[in-house]
Amino acid sequence: MATVRVQQAVFDLGAESAALAAGRHDIGGMASFVGLCRADDGLAAMTLEHYPGMTERAIEAIAAEAEARWPLTGCTIIHRVGRLPPGEQIVLVLTASAHRAAALESCAFLIDWLKTRAPFWKREEFADGQERWVEAKAEDDAAAERWARG
């Protein structure tokens, strides 16, 4: 059963990783991905909006899909919301398995699916006061699509 959290607060990769491994001797590999806010093109901050209720359900469904595809011993997904300046963490995906390939592949799968299936929207603020909503990227759809079955 995955741990899923949507929160404003920063997360702690080391603590989350330790929690997933605590007391277990059956984990051979843990993989993580942390998405961060880049200061591209004079970006001053990013604000993440989400759909409370649906977000958690959608992430839990994505995690359940990963657990069905790979033999995971644990999975943690944390996505931040609110206003985040450059350098701030946005999202954490953490997977653990007896085998490294399962941990690495499921981690890549989860972040690809999160990008296209979880109801979050990013608005960018720039140093000159301009604001704009980030547009969905075709490359993200393509990345998610490569995990399609059949």
Binding site: Y51, M54, R57, V91, T116, W121, K122, R123, E135
Partner: protein
């Protein structure tokens, strides 16, 4: 029926949510979009380009032919950009 709007759809409509009572001929998401688009200039603007709008019915992604009925929670938003 409870309607929720997110991101620029919310900004264009001018509100985050509203309770609506569409007429009986509104039976699916596509019909609901047509009806909502006629409610105000802001609604019309938000729904101007149907292809850029996504929908969820009762917190599950939904296609235009998905049935909607009284009591449903229906959300409209742009393609997601999290992660």
């Amino acid at each position: 029926m409870r309607i929720l709007y997110f991101a620029w759809v919310r900004q264009k409509v001018g509100r985050a949510e509203e309770e609506v009572a569409p007429p009986p001929e509104v039976v699916d998401v596509a019909g609901l979009v047509e009806w909502l688009a006629a409610q105000s200039p802001g609604h019309a603007d938000a729904f101007a380009n149907r292809r850029t709008i996504r929908c969820a019915v009762n917190q599950e992604f939904a296609r235009p032919d998905q049935p909607v009925r009284q009591g449903d929670e229906v959300a409209f938003f742009p393609p997601v950009t999290g992660g």
